[in-house]
């Protein structure tokens, strides 16, 4: 380990880490927005809704992210119509293809997590809301989704960590993320351990930040699970003490 060399490559690695964080944040936000309706469609009893959702989830969970990304980045250029259309300036960019692939991938996994959480909402609570005269939209907004989100959170955090690790493949389509920066340094300097191990350390830190952040969020969302605060002073030892 050459510490001076390590110090000199750190700025480039941090630039890469920033790209990883930005791509990941975009994919997580867009993916979540898409996953909610996808999960509702998947949990629906109507075949025109659940069947396409099932197909989408099956495809994106059953194939490697790398294949999905190649399909978007290299694959779509096969069609002249797409190359001539207004979306081409976006689809031509490796960066946006990476974001799209990660978004669709996490949509598949998140939708499946949300579906099982939606189906785990106790039937009685939904029936009670119906009995109170709530509309379907209101039941969804006030009962089903809040309960499902809380239930899904631990699995969702796992998914985000997996997505962050998965996002490292974007370097194969020339995006210079943390992995990409480390790999460029490796190829140019002919040193393997310093850039790759430093990148591994930065990925570990990112994982830690993500899991800490969501641990706090989970605690906030579930005040009922918290240990009671020290507000009620215990009458410690009162039973043991002999009456004065």
């Amino acid at each position: 380990m050459d510490l001076d060399f390590l110090w000199s490559i750190l700025p480039r690695l941090l630039d890469g880490a920033a790209v990883t964080v930005v791509i990941l944040t975009q994919a997580v936000i867009y993916g979540f927005i898409l996953a909610v309706p996808m999960a509702l469609a998947r949990a629906s009893h109507r075949a025109t809704l659940w069947m396409p959702a099932y197909g989408f989830i099956f495809f994106f969970r059953g194939t490697p992210l790398l294949v999905q990304m190649f399909l978007i980045y290299y694959g779509l250029s096969q069609f002249g119509e797409i190359r001539a259309s207004i979306v081409w300036p976006v689809l031509r960019e490796a960066y946006w293809c990476a974001v799209i692939a990660l978004t669709l991938n996490t949509t598949g996994y998140t939708a499946e997590i949300l579906r099982s959480a939606i189906q785990a909402v106790p039937r009685g609570e939904v029936e009670a809301a119906k009995a109170l005269g709530m509309s379907r939209a209101l039941i969804l907004r006030r009962i089903i989704l809040p309960k499902a989100f809380r239930q899904a959170l631990p699995a969702y955090v796992n998914e985000i960590v997996f997505l962050m690790k998965g996002s490292a493949v974007v370097f194969t389509i020339t995006v210079v993320d943390l992995m990409g920066a480390a790999n460029l340094i490796r190829a140019r300097s002919f040193r393997v351990y310093e850039p790759l191990l430093a990148a591994a350390a930065l990925y570990l830190i990112l994982t830690l930040v993500i899991t800490r952040f969501f641990a706090v969020l989970e605690d906030r969302l579930n005040p009922d699970r918290r240990a009671p605060a020290a507000a009620a002073p215990q009458l410690a030892g009162s039973s043991n003490r002999a009456p004065d």
Binding site: P64, V67, V161, V169, V192, L196, A200, L204
Partner: protein
């Protein structure tokens, strides 16, 4: 249809042969890496449950590292790092020149290393699910440690481990695609080469995706059958 057969045909014109060869490489890599991972996972679970603090800490470091570091980084680390270490070793013995390690070996070691960390957790949970009294009873009637493992612990823990292992196998199948990055002629690499020379990237990447889906479905059916078989002595419902 004739266009399709010329693209996917076997023999000198189509790419069917290459895709099948790639598929076979993908499955072989997944099987070898999965077996490596299971062996590592057994050792890891044993270390995590051992009385030695040093073993427990080592196993914790291992699983924490793998859970927080991208698979592709571990693949590259083993591929280039292994070559670099080997070159230094060879130079010490007077051999100079470029050294490259086999992509299959680097790939299965890296994927096995990753899989081992996840299967450590699966096996740890499975071992804890076997009632302690059974192990104690086996020891009490004079069975040796290895015999207790073979006759009492292993057959019962595998039933608990099976669903988790099934998931890990599906993850493993998909992770093999990463090894194409270091040049192994797997399924994705075959698709990549075919896509490049025919200028039909979408067609070939879809074909690759469909073949991965076929592997997934076949595996799911196989695990369903195995799970039913190993649970045949267990009452359901």
């Amino acid at each position: 249809m004739s266009e399709l057969s010329s693209l996917f045909g076997f023999g000198s014109v189509g790419w069917g042969g290459q895709l099948v060869a790639g598929l076979s490489m993908t499955v072989r890599l997944a099987v070898v890496a999965f077996a490596t991972g299971m062996a590592l996972g057994m050792v890891g679970a044993w270390a995590k449950l051992s009385r030695s603090r040093a073993l427990r800490v080592t196993a914790d470091l291992y699983t924490t590292f793998v859970r927080g570091v991208p698979e592709i980084l571990i693949v590259l680390l083993l591929f280039y790092g292994g070559a670099s270490a080997l070159r230094q070793l060879m130079e010490a013995f007077g051999h100079t020149g470029p050294v490259e390690i086999n992509a299959f070996i680097a790939g299965f070691l890296a994927l096995g290393f990753v899989n081992g960390a996840y299967s450590t957790e699966v096996f740890r949970g499975a071992i804890l699910a076997v009632p302690k009294g059974q192990i104690e009873a086996a020891h009490a009637i004079g069975m040796s440690g290895p015999l207790v493992f073979r006759r009492v612990l292993f057959p019962q823990m595998m039933r608990y481990a099976l669903p988790g292992l099934g998931n890990l196998w599906l993850i493993m199948l998909k992770d093999t695609a990463l090894v194409s990055v270091i040049g192994l002629s797997d399924l994705l690499r075959a698709g990549y080469i075919a896509a490049g020379s025919t200028r039909k990237p979408f067609t070939f990447y879809i074909a690759v995706a469909v073949l991965f889906l076929v592997l997934t479905v076949v595996s799911m059916i196989a695990f369903y059958v195995i799970e039913r078989r190993v649970s045949r002595g267990v009452r359901r419902g």
